[in-house]
Amino acid sequence: MTRRQKAITYLGLSLGLLLVIGPFVWTALSSLKPESEIRRDPPTFWPETFTLDNFVELFERVNIGQSFVNSLIVALVLVASNVLLCSMVGYAFAKLPFRGKNLAFSLVMIQMAIPAIVLMTPQFVLIAKLGLVNTFAGIILPTLVGPLGVFMMRQFMQELPDELIHAARVDGAGEFRIFFRIILPLCGPPLATLGLITFLGAWNNFLWPAVVAQSEDMYTLPVALNILNGHEGTHYNLLVAGSVVVIAPILFIFIFLQRYFVQGIATTGIK
């Protein structure tokens, strides 16, 4: 590549980055401005007056703190259940011989292919019959064992040597002992990826929590933000601050743990 070509490449990439990151930067800066400044013409880029009033109002008026805690509870429970259950199920698909294995595995693929909107109505009727509307259990149950996680763990565990398991059996170790003591400790990086992907999916999930959570004390963050957005005459200062509260935790996690994300796409998307 000539120097000129290199310069053009970097220029193009930087311009693209500006367009991608710009909206986030603008939103974050706006959330720190007082409402009068947000609406000023011409707009200020850097806040003239820094204020946390928008966030304070968000916590006091719409109880966004409760929604934050709810989102955290839902996401953490799902991370725990998916890490444990997906690795168990993935292990069986990768290493245990049993009749009907191919059929069972095709169910994993089918579940990945069913659109959420198609399941919404009948799943809601089921949750209603079980008496779980407006409960954490109702929000959490359908995604307890995600098919993507099962698929990912199977792909990884297939690469582990069979001799490991045979040797342990010869030594008289039980099957559950083999799984918990020998297999799981070898799965650190993929489990981290699985945990991250699950957290992300749960934190960002909107449709299902919006259907199940019906009172303010059960809202997750995206649901609360959508309700706030739906109120007539909601001021942009609150919406922008709400947007920051939903997005910021994910950005922090992403920046520190990004290599696990990229691994995740590599194992699920390419293989």
Binding site: P43, F98, I110, V118, M120, T121, V125, L141, I265
Partner: protein, 288 residues
């Protein structure tokens, strides 16, 4: 004994699949042939079977037809836009720039993909706001007249399409980048020796080498785009005058109104179309 052990390990998945996915899927299809409403949840067996009435009603429903047309427009425009952006970014990142800046740009471009769609849609609603929004102000600076983006029938859907491509291309980019790196260097060298220019190498080496990955991106993205809804729900709620209503949003609205049987019929149609499209794309992709 070890033969049954496998089933013990996969039991959590199979049980959950049967109860929360297979069961509801079948019930949903069954529901679409009844007049079930939200008030029937207490006694679901008391509903009346109405045959294909719900499906016939779908065809006469102007809102549903508009939703179907919008969804088709959305997929047909957003798909090439997203994959084009992703391909452009991937090719630039793979053109021999240093590793560290490449990783930095990749990280940045991927960012919108992992953020909450509700959060992003709210942020964009603010960006596109006619008076206080950044987009119109920047246009003013260069002497252009902004628009009332989300309240104008002619610009609302295009705005949402651009936002969705902006949010989605990072994923395809990462996948395409992996595909580009898998193309053997020797092929490019051989093409250069044969006197192929940059464009010819792209057409005759890069594109054929990327075919399987491009097929994956196309199928994966179209399945996602066929279901687009949250963007619209937050930014326009389907308006103005249904100009942005999508298939999923129309179904969501019917669900909200308590028309479960009708919502079931519409979802069954959407599901069938999504599966048929995916199968068709895979068939065509393998033939060529």
């Amino acid at each position: 004994m070890r033969r049954t052990l496998g089933w013990v390990f996969v039991l959590p998945f199979v049980v959950m699949f049967a109860v929360f996915y297979l069961g509801p899927l079948l019930v949903g299809i069954g529901m679409s042939f009844t007049d079930m409403r939200s008030t029937d949840v207490a006694d679901p067996l008391a509903v009346n079977v109405v045959g294909v009435d719900n499906y016939l009603r779908l065809m006469d429903d102007a809102t549903m037809r508009k939703a179907a047309v919008n969804t088709v427009i959305f997929v047909l425009t957003c798909l090439p836009l997203t994959i084009g952006l992703a391909l452009g970014a991937a090719v630039l990142l793979n053109s021999g720039i240093a590793r560290l800046p490449a990783a930095f740009f990749r990280l940045g471009y991927y960012l919108p993909n992992i953020t909450s769609i509700i959060g992003v849609a709210v942020a964009w609603k603010f960006l596109l706001e006619p008076e206080a929004g950044l987009v119109n102000r920047l246009l003013e600076l260069v002497g252009l007249q902004g628009a009332n983006w989300l309240q104008d029938e002619s610009t609302a859907l295009p705005s949402i399409i651009v936002m969705t491509a902006w949010r989605s291309f990072g994923f395809d980019m990462v996948v395409l980048l992996a595909g580009l790196q898998a193309i053997p260097r020797e092929l490019y060298e051989a093409a250069s020796v044969d006197g192929a220019g940059r464009w010819q190498r792209f057409r005759n080496v890069t594109l054929p080498g990327l075919k399987p990955v491009l097929l994956f991106c196309t199928v994966y993205s179209s399945i996602g785009f066929m279901q687009f809804m949250e963007e619209v729900l937050v930014m326009t709620r389907g308006g103005p005058l249904n100009s942005t209503i999508s298939a999923s949003l129309a179904i969501f609205n019917q669900f909200g109104a308590g028309n479960y049987g009708y919502a079931g019929a519409a979802s069954t149609v959407l599901f069938t179309v999504i599966v048929a499209l995916a199968v068709l794309q895979l068939r065509l992709g393998r033939q060529r």
